[in-house]
Symmetry: C2
């Protein structure tokens, strides 16, 4: 039953990615290792050939999830003209599609409270990705002083994470959508062109 090194590496990656989705969908404490393994097409006994503990999987799954979210936002920005990049990023993050698919979305929004309770190593890795996200928000902001634009990006990240979480909790559909819309308009600033999907 032994698998080739290539297959082993591929399986490991598949477990991490499956876990990243399941954790975001059902929470870390709400997801069992057997759930993850069977969703990855394996039996749960094999888990410890790849990871030392659930804790290790949590750390890797959280960083993998955030890397993929940042990648997605970066790619969206690259596909837009220079002046429209920040708008593209914020629109994608604060979209109803993102709200409705937590399993493929931002891990901080889906798991924020749980991540705040994990060990320091996981939180340090998440902090690193958070800084990358803030950098991304800053990169396409054309306000001149760097300190000012960093401040803005920090606040923008807070508003985006908070709005997505609130939009997922709220049972009133119209309210949920107005949270997303107003957060987006606010982050982009009413000075720039209003209106866009």
């Amino acid at each position: 039953m032994r698998k080739s090194k290539q297959e082993t590496a591929h399986t490991r990656r598949r477990i991490v990615e499956t876990a990243a989705a399941e954790f975001r969908r059902n929470g870390i404490a709400g997801t069992g290792l057997a759930d993850v393994m069977s969703a990855a097409g394996l039996t749960h006994g094999g888990f410890y050939r790849h990871f030392a503990s659930k804790e290790q999987l949590v750390a890797e799954a959280c960083t993998a999830a955030l890397d993929s979210t940042i990648d997605g936002l970066e790619n969206a920005a690259l596909g837009a003209p220079q002046g429209q990049r920040l708008r593209k990023i914020v629109s994608q993050y604060l979209s109803t599609a993102h709200r409705d698919e937590p399993g493929e979305g931002c891990a901080v929004a889906a798991l924020g409270g749980e991540i705040a309770r994990t060990d320091e190593r996981t939180r340090a890795a998440v902090t690193d990705r958070l800084l990358k996200l803030i950098d991304l928000l800053q990169r396409d902001d054309d306000s001149p002083p760097a300190a000012e634009s960093k401040r803005r990006a920090l606040v923008a990240a807070s508003t985006m994470v908070g709005a997505l979480i609130l939009s997922r909790i709220v049972t009133d559909r119209a309210l949920s959508e107005s949270i997303l819309r107003h957060a987006k308009e606010h982050v982009l600033g009413s000075s720039t062109t209003p209106r866009e999907s």
Copy 2:
């Protein structure tokens, strides 16, 4: 061992309040009923004399937690002069004390992701309290048009919840504090300096 009606009501309230704190400290899925009951000074067997299920306790604990947070913010506002009330509310919410004591703080910030995954009834009750919080942020905002100030309050709530969550995740102490500080300055600044399309 039967207790008087008054004692029974008191015990029930104690269980709800203990649960509200434990859930915010360790997460809903991370807190067992036995944990809650023993923290309330009881054995776990008696739980079902008061509640039909854990789900029911979760609903009551979440609303109780939010009610107490709103009460605390309202009282802080009442102790401040007219023009300083919003500042008082935002400062208290975005304080390091709030960041460091999730068990006594905002349930949306501590449990946002988990609440988003609970049943509709709980989320409806939380939505109701969220609207009260938004109302509170709006009440002491002196910008004239009601629609505009509602929009602002919605965004302020998002920023506050997001900033508190991020400040709890981040391992860099200075970064954690600058998230809180900049979010606070931004929320208060954009309220006293109105600009809109």
